[in-house]
């Protein structure tokens, strides 16, 4: 177990290296530069050359990559190329709390919706509640989040005028983005919870528990749910990863000043340091989410042998 944990943690390093390599190559291969964006006042070639020298952009790209790696190990990502008075860490430090808050809220909300819904619909299979939650699961899983986002902006912000359309700040701004971001994960989790509850209910040990006269509550909670939660726990990792990635569509849609919006604007602006930092941050979070879940899985279910 310990060996497996260490191996998984060590694998983060080469993976991050390749993520950095791919992103760096793609970003620098792309036509355009960070300094050709202001079409009304194009910079003179001299100015561009000077800035390029200052930021080391005149060096060959492999050399730039090595320099980047050296700095990145010390978590120094330099300064932004489009907002040159600010360091990348400062920019990310501003966006990260927003994205993290949105993500955590959405994850909690999706768990709060999906777990009870999945459990109840499995216990009352083929009832109205069951069909209702299956419908919810299918729709939430299928309809793209930006479509749900647009429709709900239309209903709640334009038509009913209950909530503001865009921005970030007080609770009223957070309601729509959080709910919409939570829908997809909630749908997936509802499906999994229901399916694994149904499977657990049919197990022999559940029949044994019932036949020895345990109260129904005890059977459901300690025998069915305890086992049914294992597959659910494994899917939380990919769901969290999807949620992190999904957040930037929501951030774009609602103009929320988080990392996701930063990611897209930095790619469009060829702001190489910001691109690298945000991509690595995202990849790191997703890897950690997946590893955590695999380890939790091993703890939850001793039957699973992790080290292969």
């Amino acid at each position: 177990m310990l060996q497996y944990t260490i191996r998984r943690l060590l694998l983060i390093v080469p993976t991050m290296f390749f993520v950095a390599l791919i992103t760096f190559t793609l970003a620098h291969m792309a036509p355009g530069s960070p300094f050709d964006k202001n079409e009304n006042r194009p910079m003179s070639q001299e100015t561009i050359d000077r800035i390029n020298r200052t930021f080391g952009l005149d060096k060959p790209i492999p050399e730039q990559f090595v320099i980047f790696l050296g700095d990145a190990i010390r978590l120094d990502f330099g300064s932004s190329l489009t907002q040159r008075d600010r360091s990348v860490n400062e920019i990310i430090g501003q966006g990260l709390p927003v994205t993290a808050q949105l993500g955590v809220q959405a994850l909690l909300l999706s768990l709060a919706i999906s777990l009870p819904l999945g459990v109840v619909s499995a216990l009352k299979q083929n009832s109205a509640i069951d069909y209702g939650s299956l419908f919810f699961a299918t729709v939430g899983f299928t309809i793209p989040s930006f479509v749900i986002g647009i429709v709900s902006i239309f209903v709640f912000a334009v038509w009913l005028r209950w909530l503001p359309i865009i921005g970030w700040g007080d609770v009223r701004h957070m309601v729509l983005p959080t709910v919409i971001l939570a829908l997809g994960p909630a749908a997936v989790l509802t499906r999994i919870t229901r399916a694994s509850m149904l499977e657990a209910i049919r197990q022999d040990y559940v029949r044994t528990a019932r036949s020895k006269g345990l109260r129904e509550q005890v059977v459901v909670v300690t025998h069915v749910m305890k086992n049914a939660m294992i597959p659910v726990a494994t899917i939380v990792g990919p769901v969290t990863a999807g949620l992190i990635a999904g957040s930037f569509i929501i951030e774009r849609l609602f103009s929320i000043p988080g990392i996701g919006r930063l990611y897209i604007t930095s790619i469009e602006g060829r702001d190489y340091p910001v691109i690298m930092a945000t991509t690595l941050l995202y990849a790191f979070f997703i890897m950690v989410a997946n590893i955590t879940v695999d380890l939790v899985y091993g703890v939850l279910d001793p039957r699973i042998k992790l080290a292969k």
């Binding site: 299928t142 149904l198 691109i275």
Partner: protein, 318 residues
């Protein structure tokens, strides 16, 4: 010579038995289960309609999807009954006075192509690399799997965003309004999942007796892979591909909605939503109609995918 004599009753019993138990193959059985699944059949019908729309777009669409007529722009659909309608435009016109119905129809074409082409590429790359990894094991397996690990660590959408956003102004990104780059990007991102699936399948099948038997009688490796392993690994692969088609369509719509997918003026549902969203508070229809189309098509594919999974793997409990 001894002949087997049977009494008339015996013969009838045999006949009846044959009649009562009509033999079905694995695939026939799956097809039978699929056809009894109403949701899947409805989904399939919608997909067929969308496909026909895509194929015959030039014949069905009343106007050129890119023809502008700014004097009659932002018309509402006729069914709204508002005063801003024009009999020329059944579903209204957009900001540039383009016919929304024609654009919706032409979008189906892009969506279907975006669904099918990358999925075929994913199948070719993923299935062959997955089989190679599983069958040969050793360093080939290690190499392929470590490579998939890296791509796996990249969140799909993030990878797509970075490929599309960086390369869309390159020569590759200009081919067919960005379609070719979209195919490449989707194939690069999605082959990994299929390669892992096929590898897992083949690894477990490899230990089965029928493979051992085939090897024992001297069947060449290539033939074992193609004739014995591949068909048996096919069922979950079909299900995965059935979900990969709407996945690709969704990715196209999402990227085009963010503004880094297919380039305007090409009509796709994602592009239409992106353009419509600008004038959303004045007239929501240019946004809502393509959103509706995407939703219906996505739902249909999910129904068919679920149906296929239930049909091909009867053990799964719904």
């Amino acid at each position: 010579m001894a002949t087997i004599t049977t009494s008339p009753t015996q013969r009838r019993a045999i006949e009846m038995n044959i009649l009562a138990r009509k033999q079905r193959s694995l695939w026939g059985d799956a097809l039978w289960r699929l056809r009894r699944n109403k949701a899947a059949m409805v989904g399939l019908a919608v997909i067929v309609v969308a496909a026909l729309m895509a194929i015959f777009a030039p014949l069905i669409a009343p106007y050129d999807p890119t023809a502008q007529n700014t004097s009659i722009n932002n018309m509402d659909p006729l069914f709204t009954g508002s005063k801003y309608t024009n009999a020329k435009f059944l579903l209204g016109s957009d900001e540039l006075g383009r016919d929304i119905l024609s654009r919706l129809i032409w979008s189906a074409r892009i969506s279907i192509v975006v669904g099918l082409v990358p999925t075929s590429l994913v199948f070719l790359i993923g299935a062959s690399l997955g089989m190679l990894a599983a069958f040969y094991g050793g360093w080939i397996d290690n190499l392929i799997m470590r490579f998939t690990d890296i791509i796996y660590a990249f969140p799909d959408l993030l990878f797509l965003v970075i490929i599309m956003a960086t390369l869309r102004n390159s020569p590759l990104g200009d081919l067919m309004g960005g379609l070719v780059l979209m195919f490449v990007a989707l194939a690069i991102v999605n082959w990994v999942g299929l390669a892992r699936l096929v590898r897992g399948q083949v690894l477990s099948l490899k230990e089965k007796e029928f493979v051992e038997a085939a090897r024992a009688i001297g069947v060449p490796t290539k033939r074992i892979m193609v004739r014995h392993l591949f068909p048996n690994a096919l069922a979950p692969v079909i299900v995965a591909l059935a979900f990969s088609i709407p996945g690709a369509m969704l990715a196209e719509a999402t990227l085009s909605f963010i503004g880094i997918g297919i380039k305007p003026p090409t009509a796709t549902w994602g592009v239409m939503i992106n353009e419509g969203f600008v004038v959303f508070s004045q007239s929501p229809w240019p946004t809502l109609l393509p959103a509706f189309c995407i939703s219906i098509v996505m739902l249909s594919f999910t129904f068919v995918g679920d149906g296929l999974r239930d049909a091909l793997d009867p053990r799964t409990q719904r």
